[in-house]
Symmetry: C2
Subunit: 479 residues, 2 copies
């Protein structure tokens, strides 16, 4: 075992004790905790949003929407806990006639993993932060949470955690600050799993720490994604001009600081939309990014990509914005363009540029398109704009070529619906764990492990497994 | 990406092509493949068992039972595929009134991960080998399998694979031999997940390789386990003598070469059973182990443990068996004993001894027992023999202290029932992945990842997600 660090041991010690308290609650008691957290957010929305605006520069409308989404996410997990179907109960009764040997009574359910660590994101100060999806799903599962605060909104983190602590049992939710504390959390023997939303480099470093423990633990990282969008020749002909506006809207929403931002737009060559694309992107007013560190990383990545011999900017660099103070905080939106052939031969271009920029990729044929899509790494999303009657074969080929967690038809990847069926995940490097999601009802699965109870009398079984089914949960019983 | 090795690229190349073939099959077509595999085993049982006896020295009755169990496992996964509930389909219909934003139609299901590698076990030449649970569950999920043959039964592996290949599409099942090929499999870019059954050291080395890939992949290792068994004072008084016989039977079954063998038996101090234990263990005739390499490792570990200052043998070392040729192949069964206090203060004693040996641990009180159980690493199983009416509180404390995948009451951990609800897993070092099992119906979950389809017209949806539900699978639909 690794030794616990004093940076985190007060939090992990309290979480270890709280794990027993949480696990002993009934589903309706755990549901009530989540509804209390939702109420706390609703009641303090004004105060929280004001602080979030100061720390993140996101606008009030967006932040109010995000608080509402976060409340509904807590409510959804309250429902999921109360229903109990997530326990995935299976009961196989004893069978003395079974071959090759008589079979005992075996009853299986899911139980909480124990205390977990959650690294919050810069770009969603509510929905992927202290009371966001990772925390809501972990508490729903019965796991205490230790938050590693993102350095982009430390005061909001502490305020949210203080409000939450007032309605939670001691130790169920704690906060630590700083990179050293983050690393100490991942290696602390009390911590049984980690949730993370952030960059590929940062996520990979923590994933490696988790995998190198004497006792490796699951690490659920939601990392980087290119989110390709393909426009078919049919869709281009039918509504190319409309698609330009929608595309620019999706690229620049929240200043492009979304993990589902379309990073690649595939258009047929000689698409004739270059002027429209240039006008639309130029019309987007520069707006402050989350912080100077993000604005600098955005500008540096954009400059690197634009300097590549195979790449060209769509339109000129906006004058008056280059090299100025403004550029350091509110860089302009930008479009680059490259041919599909060049993109697939230059894998160094397959790189996320987090911010309001995207790459238009021109393709000459279905073969050219598919050969290039084959080179794109795992993504959170993949989108096709097409015509149902004429593009069916092409679209099937696109779906079987791309590796992504969500496939979208005639819609845009930004704006992830928080519903039971949503999947927000995908093959590496979209995430570290392709089986799991950080949004949607099944996010709870990350924090649970099965136990089978063999030949156990009713009085010693957990309630969910008792023959009388006192909680009334959905179960699979055989024979 | 790592470069593929020529040791495995013929197999992985064929598996990549076969993945498309398998994924395109309907559930009933995939079910039929599994039933064909089951038939092949049944038809060739005599020939296979003869070869298995030669290579593993396990007896015919045990091997015939294992073939039957393996057939029933294939049949169970055929049923699971045909039912389709494993696809975990969820459908959330569009909602234009939803807050904070209108919601599109989102439909989620599980899809195959792609080609997977399976490392087979020495001790189950059928049930954890070429057509064992890992392979059956992976093919059921739609994933081609590349087997890394165990060096303990290479000819049986090749014969089984050749018989299977005759009824499977090309590339669905291949075999590679040798450690270098095994390592090359884990790092091959085509391989998307790994299943492994074997030692903690071997499994950890391969887990590390999988985690260190440029694109890390899931590694499901079933490793070592101490499988503690606790006898309460009540059970000792009521049926101590009977329990001795059952315990020795469980320890020495298949020469103790089972991952669920009880490695620790907790008895109240002054249990008075030492003579019975000695007589029972001495009456077990030495029998050949799987191979000299296992017999040597067993004897070496046993000698190490027995030489510890805190440990004592129960009874003398059998004469005539020490230092002889026989000892190298057919070592005697053995019992050691230690106090609970010494065990918890000497973690070096918490070590699996794979073979027909076990440690009797004497405890002075419930506190002494629980303090020691707290030190036991994650196990596949934990067992209590107790009296329902008097031991309830103690047993609840035991269950909340031990970390194990299967909790057993008044029964024994060996002889794992292959049923839907069975869980054969547990926290590290029992496995590398506490969320998963290598036995039971949910073993299929290891080879699947979710995809959400957003706003997709009926014609472009996979059949399982179409509104008409042509396969008739169980689905969760909302609202």
């Amino acid at each position: 075992m690794t030794s616990p660090s004093p940076l985190v041991s007060p939090a992990t010690g309290a979480a270890r004790d709280a794990a027993l308290v949480l696990a002993a609650l009934t589903p309706s008691e755990r549901g009530a905790l989540l509804r209390d957290l939702s109420d706390v957010l609703r009641e303090h929305t004004g105060q929280l949003v004001t602080l979030a605006q100061e720390e993140t520069h996101l606008d009030e409308t967006r932040l109010r929407g995000e608080v509402l989404r976060t409340c509904m996410q807590l409510d959804m997990f309250a429902e999921i806990t109360e229903e109990g179907a997530y326990l995935d109960v299976m009961i196989d009764r004893a069978d003395t006639e079974a071959l090759p040997a008589p079979r005992p009574d075996v009853r299986r359910m899911l139980v909480p993993l124990g205390p977990v660590a959650v690294f919050t994101a810069s770009n969603f100060p509510f929905a992927f932060s202290v009371l966001g999806g990772d925390t809501a799903s972990a508490i729903a599962a019965g796991c205490p949470v230790i938050i590693k605060a993102h350095e982009g909104h430390p005061r909001l983190t502490d305020l949210t955690a203080a409000l939450a602590a007032a309605v939670l049992p001691t130790g169920v939710l704690s906060v630590v600050h700083g990179r050293d504390a983050g690393r100490a959390l991942v290696t602390d023997p009390v911590v049984q799993a980690v949730g993370f939303t952030g960059s590929t480099a940062g996520g990979r470093a923590l994933f490696d720490l988790a995998a190198q423990r004497p006792d490796p633990i699951p690490f659920y990282g939601e990392l980087g994604s290119l989110n390709p969008v393909i426009i078919t020749p049919g869709a281009l002909a039918a509504r190319g001009a409309d698609l330009v506006g929608e595309y620019i809207g999706s690229v620049t929403r929240s200043q492009g600081q979304l993990c589902t931002k379309p990073g690649l737009l595939f258009l047929p060559e000689r698409h004739g939309l270059e002027n429209s694309l240039h006008e639309a992107i130029s019309a987007v007013p520069p707006a402050p990014m989350l912080g100077p560190w993000i604005a600098e990383a955005y500008s540096a990545t954009l400059d690197d990509l634009a300097a590549h011999a195979a790449v060209r900017r769509i339109g000129a660099v906006p004058t008056g914005n280059k090299g100025t103070e403004q550029r350091a905080h509110s860089p302009s939106a930008a479009l680059l363009t490259v041919t599909a052939d060049d993109l697939r031969n230059h894998p160094e271009l397959l790189r996320e540029c987090f911010g309001p920029a995207s790459m238009v990729v021109t393709y000459t044929s279905s073969e050219d398109l598919l050969a290039t899509l084959r080179k794109i790494p795992g993504s959170l999303t993949a989108t096709v704009h097409g015509e149902e009657n004429t593009d069916e074969e092409l679209v099937r080929n696109i779906w079987s070529t791309l590796r992504a967690g969500r496939l979208i038809w005639n819609d845009w990847p930004t704006g992830v619906a928080v519903t039971r069926a949503m999947h927000h995940g995908g093959p590496w490097p979209a995430t570290t764990s392709p089986l799991h999601t950080s949004v949607g009802g099944t996010a709870i699965n990350r924090w649970l492990r099965p136990i089978a109870y063999q030949n156990m009398p009713e009085a010693l079984l957990p309630q969910a497994l008792q023959t009388s089914n006192p909680w009334g949960v959905r179960r699979r019983t055989a024979p």
